[in-house]
Amino acid sequence: MITSIKGENLLTLDDLSRDAIVEVLDTAEAFVEVNQRSIKKVPTLKGRVVASLFFEESTRTRLSFETAAKRLSADVLSLAVASSSVKKGESLRDTITTIDALGIDAVVLRHQSSGAPVQVSRMVPHVRVINAGDGQHQHPTQGLLDVFSVRQVLAERANTTGVESGASLFEGLNVLIIGDLRHSRVARSDIAAYAALGAKVRVAAPGTLLPTDLEGWPVEVVTDLDEALAGADVVGVLRLQKERGTGHLVPSLGEFTRFYGLTQERVKQLQPTAIITHPGPMNRGVEIDSLVADMPAAIIERQVSNGVPIRMAVLYLTVAGSSNQGAMSV
């Protein structure tokens, strides 16, 4: 169990303690303010080099990480995989070794293979590795920004601040995660984060879209979706991953939507205070109705904008946390 990610890698949320997660969230709160300034930049990671390696297409995660690194004044080495020697058959190890030879402090890695960041962390033990999404395994910063966004909303309603509230607003919170859990790295990170903070997590999906064996997972599988919706404080809608072969696992998208989509009809079951999240990109009309996605209850835009402060916090803690640079200068 990791009690602080200071100076550590961030590969998975599975082994992070409540304190470690709260530390990231509290640090991110401080960076929210930086992002509201006219000059959105602090010198925290000046002189540090962060490599951004995206072996799989991504827009928001990549932009968000690189923006975060730049706002911390780090130098960013961005490898465009499509035009790199990876296309010429260079191995992951050689790519990493080459980037490392340029002198880097951290690598932000997105890879289509589950576990690639874990492997990379063994190849370059002196470099901090931050998992930006690996296969169907984990997407730690997405999980963190999801709980961060939820904490913000709950704190605003309770007339307190996120930092003041710590993890207390999650105690007994009913979280319902719906959709393609089988293929979802976001679900694996979300479940770990919510559970570590004290929430009660329930999941709902067709049997074929659940992981094969949920033994040991801190979740309850829901059989009656409508009843679960009625009791939910947070509904996390997952993207249906058609590109990962989900098409074979349900009879049709229409049938999936009918039984598991967050439709306008189904939303009526929700409490008025319920919060809806989606990691994006959305399949509007499939897992979530277009109008539902645009309801005030849906905090999808907030999730996106929180991506930057959360990633600033993660970079700050993992990279600067390993040195004696003292208090963060924001």
């Binding site: 992951l92 890879h111 293979s113 492997q119 296969g135 033994e215």
Partner: protein
């Protein structure tokens, strides 16, 4: 071959009994076994005290990679690794490039095998190019002495093709060997399906895939009467199915691989592709089940599934890496581990590593057409001298950079293992002495 060797003071392990005795080898045969033997003049004396002296091990399942992938292993290097492991004979699997699916290639491997330090037999492919469609020339390969046929790596998926192969092969006195995994259930899978694969987000290969194909093939054996050998069974249920079929008189045998009785799916938590293998490392309860079956004597053979891969081809992301791990050098030690480091039964040990597999490969003196010399014997006067002197208590730490084969993909790097080949005699020649290749 004129050299004389005396193995001094070891525990000689016969088929059912053991005795402390000397073993004298002259001109490639055992000439004397007893407490006080006459030492031929000039004979080389090997101190075998504290060791088991038994028939050299026989591996039913070695991927030697030649022809086609000599960077990973060759027939010569694989044979050296096997010798270090105590093997006097190995069966070369046919999934080379091109596949061993015709007499020309079989003859090539047999010829190269003649130059190797131990005996090399061949398993031929069941179907052309191991594609599971058209029968390979099983009869022509059998005429060269091939006694095992398999499309290993791929099970024969089409039940009609498997039935046809069994019906065709039955009168030839050969045995078909099957890699049992129903492909429709393992498609895209890279590790055992279960709690660990679910957590790691890796696609699973269910135990069910193996068990279903074992069941199917047992029914095909019942129908055709042709013997089938089940390769590397990895689940307790699969072994139980074979046991049940054998009890009903069907000609079925099975082997288990060291990694399936010493490592479980938790090893994949590190995402180290060294631990990727097909069938996959199973649950801890299946590992315990396989061990229990071995101890009960329910398993016919330990077979290595030795699968070398050049480092650059294996050192990839877990889902992109090829399946397979090394086995020949450490299989006997790992068998000790499974049978009990303090109470391993030597008779059972040699049954699993030598006599059982020799019977399946038909390399015994009593078989119709043994190749080269006979293996898996009783260690008695007149036997061909294929003898291993195995120290069952010596321990060592596995170092992947000090192996006799060409590749380094052992899953046991850093592990302390017990048991070591002290000496190996193949056809009367001392191949390993003091644990070192000669």
């Amino acid at each position: 071959m004129s050299e004389s060797i005396v193995l001094r003071g070891g525990t000689v392990v016969h088929t059912t009994t053991t005795e402390v005795a000397d073993v004298v080898i002259v001109d490639g045969r055992i000439s004397e076994v007893g407490a006080s033997v006459s030492v031929p003049p000039g004979a080389q004396q090997i101190d075998a005290r504290g060791c088991w002296v038994g028939p050299g091990f026989v591996d039913l399942h070695a991927h030697l990679r030649e022809p086609g992938n000599e960077a990973a292993e060759t027939i010569a290097s694989g044979a050296r690794a096997a010798a270090v492991g105590g093997y006097s004979a190995i069966v070369a699997m046919p999934n080379t490039e091109p596949a061993l699916d015709n007499p020309v290639l079989v003859r090539y491997v047999l010829d190269q095998g003649m130059l190797a330090v131990i005996d090399v037999a061949v398993a031929g492919a069941i179907t052309k190019n191991r594609a599971g469609e058209h029968l390979a020339p099983i009869g022509e390969m059998a005429a060269l002495g091939v006694r095992l046929f398999t499309d290993d790596g791929n099970g024969v998926q089409d039940a009609a093709v498997m039935r046809r192969a069994l019906t065709y092969a039955r009168p030839m006195g050969v045995r078909l060997a099957q890699h049992c995994e129903e492909a429709s259930l393992t498609m895209g899978g890279v590790m055992n399906e279960g709690v660990v694969s679910s957590r790691l987000g890796l696609s699973g290969r269910p135990a069910l895939a193996e068990e279903l194909m074992v069941q199917r093939d047992i029914e095909l054996v019942r129908l055709t009467g042709c013997p089938v050998h089940f390769l590397h069974l990895s689940t307790a249920r699969a072994i139980a199915l074979v046991l049940d079929a054998r009890a009903k008189g069907l000609p079925v045998t099975c082997e288990v691989a060291p990694h399936h009785f010493t490592l479980d799916e938790e090893a994949c938590e590190t995402f180290d592709p060294t631990f990727k293998v097909h069938p996959p490392l199973r649950s801890a309860s299946d590992v315990a089940g396989v061990r229990a079956a071995m101890r009960r004597g329910d398993v016919d053979a330990v077979a290595t599934d030795h699968a070398p891969h050049a480092h650059e081809t294996k050192d990839l992301a877990f889902d992109e890496a090829p399946a397979g791990m090394l086995g020949l050098e450490h299989a006997a030690s790992l068998t000790i581990e499974a049978l009990g480091t303090s109470d391993a039964n030597p008779v059972l040990f040699f049954q699993l590593l030598s006599r059982g597999p020799a019977a399946i490969a038909q390399l015994r003196a009593s078989d119709e057409r043994p190749r080269h010399s006979a293996h898996g014997g009783n260690v008695q006067v007149g036997d061909d001298a294929n003898i291993v002197v195995f120290d069952p208590v010596a321990t060592r730490v596995v170092d992947r950079h000090h192996l006799a084969g060409r590749s380094i993909n052992t899953p046991y790097h850093g592990r302390t293992i017990q048991g070591e080949t002290r000496a190996l005699v193949v056809a009367g020649t001392l191949v390993v002495e003091n644990g070192e290749l000669q």
